[in-house]
C-alpha cells in the first residue's frame, strides 16, 4: 500500500498530455443515491445538448477522497473537475500549480450570478481556480420528540448555560443528549470551532492566524477548550462515540436515539440515509437551533460556521469542463438540488424556490451572517486543521487540557507561518 503510493508519486514529474477534447473526468463525493441520480440526469442532459462531449463521473468516498487527492492530482489519472471545500487546501493546490486558472474563460455574467463571496472563495492571487456551487452551515439539529419527552424547552438552549442545563436534563431522563462521530474527528471539531466563533469572533481569529497576541494560545482559544471540557465532563455523547464515524453518529441521531447533533445542513439527507429505516426523523419532529450564545464572547451572534463548496479545475482540464460547470452551478441546474433538499445552491435565485423549511432557514441565516467562517480544518489547511481535529476529538473524550490543546494548535500554526 505504502509502496504503491510512493510508486504513484514517482510519476509526478510526468508531463500531462492534453486531455482528449471529448472526455471530461468529473470526481465527486456524493453518496446519497437520489442526489447521484440527479447528477447523472444533469450529465445526460448536458451530453445530449453538447454532442461530442462525454462526461465521466467518478466517485470517491469523503475520507478516501481527502486521503488520495494529493497523489491523484499529480498523476495521469487526475480528474478534470473535482470537489473542493476551498480553504487552505486550495491555497496549497494553487501554489503547486496543479490547478487551471480559468478567469479568462468564466463568463462575467456567471461570476456575477455566483456572487463575489462565492467566487472569492475559489480565487487565489487574482486567479479563479473553480466555481462555487453551494453554501453550508453547521447547525444544532434536534429531535422534538425527545425534547418533549425530557421536558426541555428548545428556547432555553439560547445560552451556553441553558444548553449545559438541558444536556444535564437529558442525562437525568436517560436520553443521550448529543451524537458525535469522533472517530472521523472532524465532526468533533465543529464543537471547538463553534465555541471559537462565539468566543473569539472574526477579528481575534484572523489575528491568531497571523500569530498576534500569542496566536492560538490567546485567551478565547483556551476558553473554548475549557468550555468544551465543561461539556465533555457531563458525558453528553452517545456511548462509544470515539469509535463512531460520522455515518454512525448521523444514523444514531436519525434513528431517534440522541436529542441533538451538531452537524452541517447536509445531515438532513444523510441522517435519513444513515438511519436504520432510511426514513430518519420525520420533518415535523426535526428542528434547528442556532449554536448557544456565550456571555462575553467577542463573536457576533449572527456569525455562522460552514462552507462554500464547489468545483476546481485540474490544470489538464479542457475548456469544455469550465463550460459544463458554468451550466451545472447555474441557478437552472443547482436549484434542482436545492429544491430536493440536498444542498443550498449559491447561484443567485437558485435557492428562492427551495421548499425545504430547514434549508430555507439555513440559507437565511448564512445570508444574514456577519462572518461566515469556513470549516476550520479546511480553512487552516491540512497541517493545522488536522491538529484542530485531533485536539477536538481529545477534548470530547476529556483526554487533554485546554491549555495543551491551545498550545498544540499554536505549535502547528507557527510551523507554517
Amino acid at each position: 500500500m505504502k509502496k504503491l503510493a510512493l510508486a504513484a508519486m514517482l510519476s509526478v514529474a510526468a508531463i500531462f498530455p492534453a486531455a482528449a477534447q471529448e472526455t471530461i473526468d468529473w470526481m465527486h463525493i456524493a453518496s446519497i443515491p437520489e442526489e447521484v441520480a440527479l447528477m447523472e440526469a444533469a450529465v445526460a442532459e448536458y451530453e445530449a445538448a453538447n454532442p461530442g462531449i462525454d462526461i465521466n463521473m467518478q466517485f470517491l468516498e469523503n475520507e478516501a477522497f481527502k486521503a488520495k487527492l494529493t497523489t491523484l492530482l499529480q498523476s495521469d489519472a487526475a480528474p478534470d473537475i473535482f470537489y473542493s471545500w476551498g480553504g487552505g487546501v486550495l491555497t496549497e493546490q494553487a501554489a503547486a500549480g496543479v490547478l487551471r486558472p480559468v478567469e479568462d474563460l468564466v463568463d462575467p455574467a456567471v461570476a456575477e450570478a455566483l456572487g463575489s463571496g462565492g467566487m472569492s472563495a475559489f480565487t487565489r492571487d487574482g486567479h479563479v481556480y473553480g466555481l462555487p456551487q453551494q453554501v453550508s452551515e453547521v447547525v444544532l439539529w434536534y429531535n422534538k420528540e425527545l425534547f418533549e419527552e425530557a421536558g426541555v424547552d428548545p428556547a432555553s438552549l439560547e445560552t451556553w448555560d441553558g444548553f449545559l442545563a438541558a444536556v444535564q436534563t437529558f442525562k437525568d431522563a436517560g436520553i443521550t443528549p448529543l451524537a458525535v462521530g469522533a472517530k472521523d474527528k472532524w465532526p468533533a471539531h465543529f464543537w471547538w470551532s463553534k465555541l471559537v466563533v462565539r468566543l473569539a469572533g472574526q477579528d481575534a481569529f484572523e489575528a491568531a492566524r497571523k500569530g498576534e497576541n500569542g496566536g492560538f494560545t490567546a485567551e478565547p482559544f483556551v476558553r473554548a477548550g475549557e468550555m468544551f471540557l465543561e461539556l465533555a465532563a457531563l458525558e453528553p455523547f452517545q456511548e462509544g462515540f470515539l469509535a463512531a464515524s460520522y455515518g454512525d453518529a448521523s444514523g444514531y441521531f436519525g434513528d431517534g436515539k440522541a436529542a441533538m447533533h451538531l452537524m452541517g445542513d447536509w445531515d438532513y439527507g444523510a441522517m435519513k440515509d444513515n438511519s436504520a429505516s432510511k426514513e430518519g426523523i420525520p420533518d415535523d419532529q426535526l428542528g434547528i437551533l442556532p449554536f448557544p450564545t456565550i456571555e462575553g464572547g467577542a463573536g457576533d451572534p449572527s456569525d455562522t460556521l460552514g462552507g462554500i463548496n464547489g468545483w476546481l479545475f485540474h490544470r489538464s482540464a479542457p475548456d469544455a469542463a469550465v463550460d459544463f460547470m458554468e451550466w451545472y452551478t447555474s441557478a437552472e441546474v443547482a436549484s434542482r438540488f436545492g429544491n430536493a433538499g440536498f444542498f443550498i445552491p449559491i447561484a443567485e435565485g437558485a435557492a428562492d424556490e427551495m421548499t425545504n423549511p430547514f434549508k430555507t432557514q439555513i440559507a437565511q441565516s448564512i445570508n444574514n451572517a456577519h462572518w461566515h467562517a469556513i470549516f476550520f480544518d479546511q480553512e487552516l489547511g491540512p497541517q493545522v486543521g488536522g491538529v484542530v481535529n485531533d485536539i477536538s476529538a481529545e477534548l470530547a473524550g476529556n483526554a487533554l487540557s485546554a491549555e495543551e490543546a491551545a498550545e498544540l494548535v499554536e505549535e502547528a500554526a507557527a510551523d507554517i507561518r
Binding site: 514517482l10 494529493t70 462509544g240 469509535a243 491540512p382 476529538a393
Partner: protein, 309 residues
Amino acid sequence: MTTIASSPAATAAPRRARRYMDRKSLVPLLLFIPPALILFVTLVVLPMIDAASFSFFDWTGYGPMTDFVGFENYDDVLSHRHFGTAVRNSLLVIAVSLLVQLPLAMWVSLALVEKRWSVNVLRTLFFLPYMLAEIAAGLIWKFVYDGNYGVLPTIGDAIGVDMPFVLGDRVWVMPAIMLVIVWKYFGFHMMIYIAGLQSIPSEVIEAARLDGVKKWQIVRHIKLPMIWGSIVISVFFSIIGALQLFDLVIPLSNGGPNNSSHTIVTFLYQFGILRMKLGFGGAVSVMLFIACVVITVIYRRLLFAREAD
C-alpha cells in the same frame, strides 16, 4: 528486505563467482534476472530513495521540494506526542505475535498434522481468515465489536454483562486489535509449521515411539528441532509483519480513540500523508526501514546462522 536466503559461507564466494562466469548459466541469468530486477528497482528501491529524500525537506506533496530542513523532520517525529504510543503499540503487537500467536499456531499444527479429511476441514477453516483481505477482515470485526449493533454486546446481553465499546475505549482497543491479528494470521503460521512437520520422516517418530519416548518429549526433542527452519522463518515474518501492520487497524479503529491505537505505519499515514507533511512521513518511513534492516541483520546473525549449522 524480505530476502531470507541464507548467506553463502565466505569460502564459497570465489567458487560461486566463477560459476556465474560460466557461459551456460549466464544465459538464463540474463534472461530471468532483469524482469525481477526491474520490478524490484522501480517499485522498491526507487520509492525508498524517494522517501528518504523527502525526509530532508519540508514538503506538502505538491510541486517541487525546495525547503531543505536537514534532520528537522526526524527531530519532529521523535518529539511527536503520539510517536511513542505508535512505537509501543508496534512492540506490543510483536510481543503478542511471538508469545501468543506462534505458540497457538504450533499447538494447532501439532494437532492437525495428520492427513485425515476431518483434519483437512479444520485446517482450511483456520486458514480462511488469512485468505480474507485485511480491510474486509477489519470491517467484519468492526461489526463484531460495535457497541450498538455488534455481536459482542449481544453476547454480553445474553450472559448479563455490560460490554464496553471496545474500539472506543483506550484500554480495550489494543487487546481488541490484537485478537483480530492473532485470529487472522495464526493460520498462516500454522500452515508453515504443518509443512515443516510433514517433512519429518515418519520413521524417526516411529523409532522414538518404539523406544518409549513420551509424546511431549517427541515434540520437544524431535519435532521442534527438526522444524527449526520453519520456526525461524515464521518468527521473522511475524516481526516484520507486525512492524508493517496497517490495513487491519485503519477500518477497526483508525488509530483511535484519541490516537491511542496507532502503529508505526498508521502513524505515518495519519500524521505524514493525510496532514500533507510528506517530509515528516518520509522520516518515519526511513526510521521504520532502518529498524527493519537492523532486525533482519541481527536476526540473520543469530538465528539463520544457527540454522545453517
